[in-house]
Symmetry: C2
Subunit: 322 residues, 2 copies
């Protein structure tokens, strides 16, 4: 976190706000933060590169929000409480308007999620905009929502809705014919993901396995099944499709719902006895939850459509290194 004079100016102007009591924030070799007794530190990191993970002309305020949101989504997927974050930022040049908007979007979410920015690194490089966010949270290790914790007989739940981010991405990439109305209805889900961090903390010790649907429901649920050595049956008709998908081609909707990534909502499993409790926790956190299937012993992911007819999937999740 060492920095030259101009770098200090940049940090001071946009990325230095007082750290909470008990924390040491920006300005020393390391930041310091407390971890509560009985808890472990949960940590995750995401690297976002211009042109690869976001468009060059993206609204910088939305980008600041999303750079943190995708990481808070990882904490939520462990049932962890956000504690703090670090930001590394490389920019081709100084641009006050861009930095102001980016930091506004970043801090607005950091404040709401209780995840203060306590350190980072900035640099200038012609390589384009590079954003790396590290989040840290805390969770009681015996209550963490691990991918390997699904049990046969568990319900499978998802939070929020499915499909909108994928449709927005297809429209922006020209893979669907231009449709202003559809883009306006789906783009907020892509640009301003709102992971259910409050609800997720209440699932710690209640749910079994969990992850976020960043790579698409099929692929991500597949990780739970592999780690937990089990299978799943999904009821396609139960999936909480985003309302903007109504009236679209059925196969397109199916791909968007099952394979569309960038969702940053949770898929989790829990014992059937927990149904009422989970619904109550979700209501309390103002989080929409939907039961979409169950965990079975037989390996594989089986998706059943109308009348229990299996749906054949010709889909693959998003691969960051393809």
């Amino acid at each position: 976190m060492s920095a030259g004079p101009k770098e200090f100016d940049l940090i001071a102007r946009y990325f230095t706000r007082p750290a909470p009591p008990g924390f040491l924030g920006v300005g020393d070799d390391c930041a310091l933060l407390p971890v509560a007794a009985g808890h472990q530190l949960a940590t995750s990191v995401d690297l976002l590169i211009e042109g690869r993970h976001f468009f060059s002309d993206v609204d910088p305020k939305a980008l600041g929000h999303k750079a943190l949101a995708v990481n808070i989504s990882d904490l939520a997927a462990m049932g962890a409480q956000p504690l703090a974050c670090l930001l590394s930022l490389s920019l081709p040049d100084m641009n006050d308007a861009w930095l102001q908007a980016f930091s506004d979007g970043f801090y607005a979410l950091a404040d709401r999620a209780g995840c203060p920015l306590i350190g980072g690194d900035t640099t200038r490089s012609a390589a384009g905009i590079v954003i790396n966010v590290t989040v840290m949270g805390q969770v009681r290790p015996e209550q963490a929502l691990l991918r390997a914790a699904a049990k046969v007989g568990d319900d499978i739940w998802v939070t929020g809705t499915l499909g909108a981010a994928d449709i927005a991405l297809r429209l922006l990439q020209g893979r669907l014919p231009a449709n202003e109305r559809l883009l306006a209805a789906t783009r907020p889900t892509l640009d301003w993901p709102e992971p259910p961090w409050t609800f997720a903390q209440t699932l710690a010790g209640v749910a079994h396995a969990a992850l976020d649907i960043s790579d698409g429901l099929s692929q991500d649920l597949g990780h739970i099944l592999k780690a937990s050595s089990c299978g799943a049956v999904l009821d396609y008709t139960a999936l909480p499709l985003h309302p903007a998908l109504q009236g679209l081609d059925a196969l397109l909707v199916q791909e968007a719902a099952l394979a569309g990534g960038d969702v940053y909502q949770l898929c989790f499993t829990a014992a059937q006895e927990q149904r009422a409790h989970i619904q109550a926790l979700a209501d309390q956190a103002k989080c929409v939850v939907t039961r979409i299937g169950g965990i079975v012993a037989e390996p594989g992911l089986h998706v059943l459509g109308q009348g229990g007819v299996p749906i054949k999937q010709h889909i693959a999740g998003f691969d960051h290194f393809s």
Copy 2:
């Protein structure tokens, strides 16, 4: 830390080794690590960009070492014990030989420093090689070596030697005439920095202020003076110059020693009563330490040369955003 199938292959092949007992490593939404009772988490992050922070043709094994070393140096500068690290890596293409060498260099230091790699993110981007390392360590908050903790009357110490990394950098950048012998003697210090993490932990609760000399002694010591609202008098003749600097132009040596960055050794202050104790701790850790001056009340950094004659400095530290 979500990842597509090919990304999983990459992570599995080069960056997945078993996490220590009590840790959760690569493979879930977050990594989990324990922080000892009475300790806080110390964390820092460094972003390294090809062409900006390292040459494109750098030995990848040295790069893997250095990417972690510069972060462990930040932990050392707080007196913190390394706990774990996260690695974000963006590459223009897959290259097995490069990845093997990079991961070898990274893991070799991680193993020696007790700083296991427990998570990360990988992506492919034409933007060139981007490396972001987050380190986490633990320290008792009341013992952390803060920049603001220097006291009038303190000795000023440095570990290791000064100047070699700067000379190597000048040679590689063509700012000094080619000199194979000099490059061979100085480059190891630039490419394979060895921060004194073992010794640094023993300074926690013993020394007062500390930081690493990543931006050059003058500039970095200046941070301590500013944060601690005091001044310093340095004895230039006491500085532990790297032996390879013998016989070089006196002004060049002075610039390299006082303003040369990329050192990743510590500058710290401690009460005069601690002299013998600090020397004993250094001997035990096989770390070279040198007293180079003292903290005074009058603001400013005064460097005295032969016979106590003030040395005028026309120097500036390295600025990552200039």
